[in-house]
Amino acid sequence: MMTAETLYAAGGVGLLALGLYGAIVVDDRIRRVLTLNIMGTGVFMILIALAARSPSGRPDPVLHAMVLTGIVVAVSASGFAVALACRLGPPEDETRPVHDRAGEDDER
């Protein structure tokens, strides 16, 4: 039977996988932080869907508290990460043709 919880749990799994794919594929450091956030929200969604499985209809508050903690830690970690990304200075010149860069994209 497809309940709302299973639907959202499946959605959370999908977002987790999308975020993982994005975190490896993207080549911009800011966007990598964004994709890690997508991955994190996927995990949060799974946890919240699991909390809603209770037969009494009252969701598990411990999982909610864990996710709440997770959200705040995620935003502080993201802030720290993008602050570090700013310190790295300007990105390498993206207008340069790919074949100029030795050792990169060798698999083309």
Binding site: V13, L15, L20, M45, A51, D60, S78, E107
Partner: protein, 322 residues
């Protein structure tokens, strides 16, 4: 029919995530992340998690997007809107990564949808059994501030550490540089005026969430996040911070949550209990005290993280590499 609503929400979330990952312009990608956070809050409200939904609406939807956008401006400057000409990851490698991600999804999906029991009360009954002794009626607040207060104490320590990490502990909450040429434009006047109109309502909302959080959805994190959102738009509108709220006073606000939390923890030890074991009859008062201090700290730290990434300080000097 409500399943249709759920299906649309989940499908939209996946589509927005896909857009945020694949679209070429970084700015469009971050713009997709903003409604993503808001939809996520709606999804969690549907799953009976209003406490988490409020926090996600303020933090996931607003603050994280603001942080990312500020960082993107700083790193890419004027080229933020350009479509990068750099070759994306080769198709073959992308396929391999997609296979890996799909395998992870299959594993996680199997655990979540089949391996775990379909219905379990989890720790809910044990929380309910002890709710009366916790001093508050909102079970999530009871877990955060009483049963698992250790976690929350360390979480606030993580926030302070993040701020120290970005090198902003010694600095004050910085205003955005007032650009004289911007000063007189209609937009800046209207934005400043609107923000002045909204700020009192935001402060009242934060205070309400904090106070009602003992018994209803809400609490220190939601209140702090809402206040931080108000702080961020005040910074963006170029409002000047009050003179008293600089240097020492700001540092005090940053650490007051951690300090009060730890002081209560050790204080009850002096009275004969364990660390953070509130004496009987005092739980509610102590929880409200800790939450009030934590709200101020969370709001200040989140705004300061944002101004650190925005990269301006009181003199309007960019501090890149400093």
């Amino acid at each position: 029919m409500v399943w249709l609503f759920d299906a649309v929400v989940v499908a939209s979330l996946c589509w927005l995530a896909w857009r945020a990952i694949t679209v070429r312009q970084l700015q469009v990608s971050i713009m997709a992340f903003l409604p993503y956070g808001l939809l996520m809050a709606i999804a969690w409200a549907r799953l009976d998690a209003p406490d988490v939904a409020i926090a996600e609406a303020a933090i996931g939807g607003g603050l994280t997007s603001a942080l990312l956008l500020a960082a993107a401006r700083r790193v890419h400057g004027a080229r933020l809107n350009e479509v990068p000409t750099k070759q994306p990851v080769p198709r073959r490698r992308r396929r391999a990564i997609a296979v890996v991600a799909a395998a992870v999804a299959a594993g996680a999906g199997w655990v979540v949808l089949w391996a775990l029991p379909a219905a379990t009360p989890g720790l809910g009954p044990r929380v309910d059994a002890n709710l009366e002794a916790s001093g508050v009626e909102n079970p999530v607040t009871a877990v955060l501030l009483n049963f698992r207060a250790w976690d929350t104490l360390l979480e606030i320590a993580v926030l302070v550490l993040a701020l120290i990490g970005v090198g902003r502990f010694r600095a004050s909450v910085h205003d955005r540089q007032r650009n004289p040429s911007e000063e007189s434009t209609l937009e800046s006047i209207m934005l400043g005026g609107l923000v002045r109109l909204f700020l009192p309502a935001i402060v009242i909302t934060g205070g309400y969430l904090l106070w009602r959080g003992a018994d209803e959805p809400g609490g220190a994190f939601q209140a702090g996040a809402v206040l931080a959102g108000g702080g961020v738009i005040a910074v963006l509108a170029g409002l000047q911070r009050p003179r008293w709220f600089a240097g020492g006073a700001f540092r005090l606000f940053v650490v007051v949550g951690l300090a009060v939390f730890a002081a209560v923890g050790f204080g009850v030890m002096a009275l004969g209990g364990a660390f953070l074991e509130y004496p009987e009859g005092w739980s509610k008062q102590l929880i409200i005290l800790i939450e009030s201090a934590a709200t101020l700290s969370i709001a200040c730290i989140l705004v300061a993280l944002f101004t650190a990434v925005l990269g301006t300080d009181g003199s309007g000097r960019a501090d890149r590499g400093g």
